[in-house]
């Protein structure tokens, strides 16, 4: 079930607003405090991943399944993975906190999706 989709220009100034929205969605699906905070960390990390790859605009989709599924999509990334050494740690961090992490990157398109928590 689709809960919400957002589309916005990527930038540090918007991260706080997205974290707040994420907190609201987590409260709606019944996450506890720890799950909510982990989810906010993962959303921020995913947006930073796209931002470091030069993404300018992003679409975020929140869906309720047997967990909270969150997908990120940018069509204007411009930096190759090899030029972003921090990406490896970001991916390892996401892998430690979420389930079914998928990262797809080809040309200017980049998609990240994962599930988090139990509903």
């Amino acid at each position: 079930m689709k809960l919400m989709s957002l589309e916005f220009p990527l930038g540090n100034s918007i991260l706080t607003a997205v974290r707040l929205v994420t907190g609201g969605i987590c409260a709606r699906v019944g996450f506890d405090l720890d799950e909510t905070e982990d989810c906010k960390v993962c959303v921020t990390e995913s947006l930073l991943l796209l931002s470091r790859r030069g993404g300018k605009n992003v679409r975020v989709l929140f869906e309720q399944e047997d967990n909270l599924k969150i997908s990120f999509e940018s069509e204007d990334v411009s930096v190759a993975r090899e030029e972003v050494p921090e990406e490896e740690i970001s991916v390892a961090l996401l892998s430690a906190l979420v389930e079914n992490l998928q990262i797809f990157s080809e040309g200017h398109d980049m998609r990240i999706s994962f599930g988090i928590g139990k509903l």
């Binding site: 405090l33 960390v41 740690i89 961090l93 430690a96």
Partner: protein, 245 residues
């Protein structure tokens, strides 16, 4: 120095200096991860200590032969430790630290023993291995993480799982019932003869066997057995009457 060289040097020398070189090289990962978890009611410095310890412990557990970069290995390790720290802090009731540590030591000693001997160790063997009393071993083994009173009780009697542990706590009224019962027992005992009261004192107060009671009362064990049966019948009917009133 490159990652591979650093670890080869450390595993070869096992020196603190070599380990410190690795810690210094990768300390930024601990700092980076801690910054992502601040603002949850735990001081930055406390989290950094947790992350630093996880980094140091992780160095010994890292396996070069697996072909994974250390940063990829250590990131989930540190993240896991930070999350454990949050989870432990969020508990309202803690197991005493000494008991938690003892439990961990018992588990480690038990695993090592099983691997070596091919069987589980006895409490006495664990006591000798860990140089602590058997009583402490048993206490630590019986302790477990605190459970919520709101947790559902799953048992055969409660197939639906609707009852919580809180539901199982005795009602305050039960304490009064117990008091009444104690009072009734006391009254019933007063109705017994001196000899019968002496028997009750030895058998149920001192918890002696029938033979031991017989010796104390200078009678045969058969006599005690018969008298005991008679006393219990007397008490039973007396209690029935007083509790029915």
């Amino acid at each position: 120095m490159e990652e591979k060289e650093l670890f080869e040097q450390y595993f070869r020398e096992k020196s603190i200096e070599a380990r410190n070189q690795i810690v210094e090289k990768y300390f930024y990962i601990a700092e980076m991860l801690v910054k992502k978890f601040v603002g949850r009611g735990v001081e930055y410095d406390d989290l950094l200590s947790v992350a630093s310890l996880a980094l140091i412990k992780g160095i010994d557990r890292f396996d070069l032969s697996k072909g994974v970069k250390f940063s990829t290995f250590i990131t989930p390790t540190i993240t896991g430790e930070i999350k454990n720290y949050f989870r432990d802090r969020s508990r309202l009731i803690h197991l005493p630290r000494r008991v938690s540590e003892l439990k961990a030591n018992i588990k480690r000693a038990s695993d090592e023993f099983s691997a070596r001997e091919g069987r589980n160790p006895s409490v006495r063997e664990l006591s000798e291995l860990l140089q602590i009393s058997e009583e402490e071993i048993v206490t630590a083994m019986e302790s477990s993480a605190p459970l919520s009173l709101d947790r559902a009780v799953s048992s055969e009697e409660d197939e639906e799982g609707e009852n919580t542990f809180l539901d199982l706590l005795p009602d305050k009224n039960d304490a009064f019932e117990q008091l009444e019962q104690r009072d009734a027992v006391r009254s019933a005992l007063k109705e017994l003869s001196k000899e019968e009261q002496t028997l009750v004192f030895f058998r149920f107060g001192k918890e002696l066997s029938q033979s031991e009671t017989a010796k104390h009362m200078h009678v045969s064990q058969m006599y005690i057995s018969r008298m005991e049966r008679k006393i219990l019948e007397k008490l039973r009917s007396s209690l029935k009457e007083s509790l029915a009133e």
